[in-house]
């Protein structure tokens, strides 16, 4: 059995973070093949259900990535909405028996390919420490 490779669902906003992930590619930055990106128009589009369902279907971690606060959001304030939701979701995850660290929020701009790669690297490392999601076997 090879080493545990966590699976991360990464919700990226269209304007900053999706483009930031593209930037990592353009610059051929290498990071662990653990993240699967789901494009949403704004991090504020994130419905808490999306995150809960991702865990239910076996994700080991979820990343929510949007434009930098306070001024970068293409839609003015969507990133603040995302921030509040993630804070609440992390509390909820704890009550469900999941480590809140499995859910991470990051602001990644269109030019921050390096940050995108670093975040995935760090998250992968953290999830390897935590091990597979306890919901996986349930």
């Amino acid at each position: 059995m090879s080493e545990f490779q966590p699976k991360i669902v990464a919700f990226c906003c269209n304007w900053c973070s999706y483009a930031g992930a593209d930037q990592a590619g353009l610059r051929r930055l290498q990071y662990p093949p653990t993240a699967r990106i789901v494009r949403i128009m704004c991090s504020g589009r994130l419905d808490p259900v999306f995150v809960l369902e991702a865990f239910r279907y076996g994700a080991d971690g979820v990343l929510v990535a949007g434009c930098h606060t306070p001024t970068d959001c293409h839609y003015t304030s969507g990133n603040f909405k995302a921030e509040r939701r993630v804070l609440l979701l992390r509390k909820l995850l704890e009550q469900l028996g999941l480590e809140p660290e499995r859910l991470r929020l990051e602001w990644i701009s269109a030019s921050e390919g390096e940050k995108f790669a670093r975040v995935i690297e760090e998250m992968t490392q953290k999830l390897k420490e935590l091990g597979p999601s306890p919901l996986k076997s349930a």
Binding site: Q5, K7, V9, Y18, A19, A21, D22, A24, G25, L26, R28, L29, Q30, Y31, P33, R36, I37, V38, R39, I40, M41, C42, G44, R45, L46, D47, P48, V49, F50, E53, A54, Y57, G58, A59, T71, D72, H74, Y75, T76, S77, G78, K81, R85, A110, A117
Partner: protein
């Protein structure tokens, strides 16, 4: 459904085993065709997609290739041409977000690609037909900034038949160019070429000139912006003021004159320079005694009122907010000059006879503070030795790494003016890094100035000192002759570069535009889209994009004006149908969506018997989906990003279907 996997000439297939991807997804329910090609973006491959759509009667298409920020319009057109609604296309990013970033782990990259394609297939199943939203375009243009770029762009647009609102924050248009004496390399008189164009702006029937005004707020989107402009009170009625300047002879207040780089004083009521447009006095509210110190019934000063025959002074003017509707916005907010005080070792601010190139510019200008006489500010006499120091604040990691692009030729101009207009006997030294004379006629000009006897030293001094007799002295190592020189000069001129102004930051925030690492505005593409921004309907020109000379600023202004005209002349704009949609049966009328919408795009509509439901204005909606993620009854969703579609994609990625 058909799935098209792209090798991208090896960019994808060298690291992702596309045959394995094919095997993994071809059995998924609904998938009737999986094909692999070298380049799906090519024209023959496009034909093949169309053939497969028709042969297999496809009603969904999934293309796994590069990022959807590339080729998306092309692929949508392919679907359209095959008779399929273009919104039934799903793109999977297998290159930027997969093959290129996992070169060392092809096995895992292939697994990831399979997950992503499965997610795409699951999402594609839930896609629905959509039609783009077509909006009519408002044909007005707001031009921000009345420097040479803003002036030229406004005139181009006005002569093209478009209505222009030109917004300038100062009391007059003209910008930095209006301060120049001559322009390089021809040594034409700057005001002789600029002021007639300024007068045209004032008289052109298609231009509404709003000076002493600033951009306050912009809402709406490309084709239909609503622009709020703050008009500051100048306490003078422009319709009555004759520009006689009698008021300026009696005003007792004296403050540093920004027009002359603070080298002399102006009054609190002032006209910046004789050719100002509009030639109307402005009261500087910060310094005017009447405005600052008068109490009800106890006016202070008011001398200007007494002397004004036209009765133009009006203390009742207030801040006004004007609302303008425009289809496009053209930004030409300019830049500012580097503050030489930041390099204290060169002595600016310490020694009066160290001046900046902008101060030299005003000094040698006949309407400047010395009436065109170049003097040593310490002695008041014509200098015998003048030294120019290049690249102050430019090409220096400590300040700005970029080249200011104007410093070399501006100094050549200053040296030539000294030799030709002041005295050919003045000894001139130019200490430089590299002579960058890249414009048309610039190199020839450089030769001409060398032939005048100006001495060029390839090296920069690290420190300028003042001797007890007031002369300045510095050591400089010439790297061409490998000799250390000591230069003694009466006057040292620092060639300062251009830096981003606070206005750039302000408009960038207001309009959500990106700025580069240097702080200047970012064009949509540095080579191929130099006068557009990444936001539709917002165009840009001049030195707010980066340092440039008048020639380049003018070229960009004309380019931007042409782009604006092209954009507006289409008459309509096609908008993506990614907007919110309400299911009225589910809407409980709670108004949460109204409160979270950043664009005021949702209103409540009465359906009778006290029942209210949300109604989306598709024109204002930008499709962020904040309403959809906040709605407690899932009554509102965003088209093309419905809950169902996103959830299906997540499930597809993780469990395969």
């Amino acid at each position: 459904m058909g799935v098209f996997l792209c090798k991208c000439g090896g960019n994808i297939s060298d690291f992702v085993d596309l045959e394995a991807v094919k095997r993994a997804v071809e059995k998924i329910d609904g998938v009737v065709a999986v094909e692999v090609d070298e380049h799906w973006c090519s024209s023959p491959a496009g034909k093949r997609i169309k053939e497969v759509i028709k042969e297999k009667n496809l009603n969904r298409v999934v293309i796994a290739a590069c990022t959807l920020n590339m080729h998306q319009p092309h692929f949508m057109e392919v679907l359209q041409e095959a008779g399929l609604n273009p919104y039934l296309l799903e793109r999977v990013n297998a290159r930027e977000q997969c093959s290129w970033v996992h070169k060392d782990s092809p096995k895992e990259a292939t697994e990831k690609a399979i997950d992503l394609v499965r997610g795409g297939i699951a999402r594609a199943k839930r896609l629905t037909e959509l039609s783009p939203i077509v909006e009519k375009i408002n044909k007005n243009v707001v031009v921000v900034g009345g420097g040479v770029a803003g002036i030229i762009a406004s005139l181009e647009l006005a002569y093209g038949g478009y209505r222009v609102f030109l917004v300038e924050k100062s009391p007059t248009i003209g910008g930095r160019m209006a301060k120049f004496s001559k322009v390089f390399p021809s040594l034409d008189c700057a005001s002789c070429i600029l002021t007639p164009r300024m007068a045209e702006v004032e008289s052109h029937k298609n231009i509404t000139l709003l000076t002493y005004s600033e951009l306050q707020e912009v809402s709406g989107s490309a084709g239909n912006f609503k622009v709020k402009i703050l008009k500051k009170p100048r306490y003078v009625d422009p319709a009555l003021c004759t520009g006689c300047r009698d008021c300026t002879t009696v005003c007792p207040v004296k403050v540093p004159n920004e027009w002359n780089m603070g080298m002399d004083k102006r009054t609190a009521i002032y006209i910046p320079f004789p050719e100002a447009v509009p030639r109307v006095a402005t009261v500087d509210g910060e310094h005017c005694l009447y405005l600052k110190h008068s109490k009800p019934g106890k006016p202070v000063c008011g001398k200007c009122v007494e002397v004004c025959k036209a009765k133009a002074i009006n203390w009742n003017q207030k801040l006004e907010v004007l609302e303008v509707e425009a289809g496009a916005i053209l930004l030409a907010v300019g830049s500012e000059v580097f503050d030489a005080r930041r390099v204290p070792q060169l002595g600016y601010g310490l020694y009066k006879n160290v001046i900046t190139s902008m101060e030299f510019e005003r000094m040698i200008n006949s309407d400047g503070p010395t009436g065109g006489k170049v003097v040593n500010p310490v002695t008041g006499e014509t200098p015998k030795v003048v030294a120019f120091i290049q690249c102050v604040g430019s090409r220096d990691e400590k300040y700005n790494p970029y080249c200011c692009r104007i410093g070399c030729t501006a100094t050549l101009k200053h040296a030539a003016l000294l030799k030709e207009y002041v005295s050919k006997d003045i000894d001139i030294y130019v200490c430089y890094n590299d002579m960058r004379t890249v414009g048309k006629g610039f190199e020839e000009f450089y030769r001409r100035v060398r032939d005048m006897g100006v001495k060029f030293i390839r090296g920069l001094p690290s420190e300028v000192k003042q001797k007890p007799d007031g002369t300045l002295s510095f050591n400089v190592f010439d790297t061409t002759t490998e000799t250390l020189y000591e230069v003694n000069a009466d006057l040292v001129v620092l060639a300062i570069g251009l830096v981003p102004s606070p206005d750039i930051e302000k408009v960038a925030k207001l309009l959500k535009l990106s700025r580069g690492h240097d702080g200047f505005l970012l064009e949509a593409h540095e080579k191929l889209r130099p006068v557009e921004t990444l936001t539709d309907g917002i165009f840009v020109a001049g030195s707010c994009l980066g340092p440039m000379d008048i020639h380049d600023a003018t070229s960009e202004a004309m380019g931007a004006a042409s782009k604006v005209m092209g954009f507006l002349s289409a008459g309509e704009i096609v908008k993506e149908p990614i907007v919110a949609k309400v299911n009225e049966d589910l809407c409980s009328g709670c108004r949460v969506c109204v409160s979270v919408c950043p664009f005021d795009a949702i209103k409540m509509e009465e359906k009778g018997e006290g029942k209210f439901v949300a109604k989306v204005d598709e024109v204002s909606c930008k499709g962020c989906g904040l309403c959809a993620s906040s709605c407690p009854t899932a009554a509102i969703t965003t088209q093309h990003f419905t809950d169902e579609q996103i959830r299906a994609q997540v499930r597809g990625i993780l469990v395969g279907t």
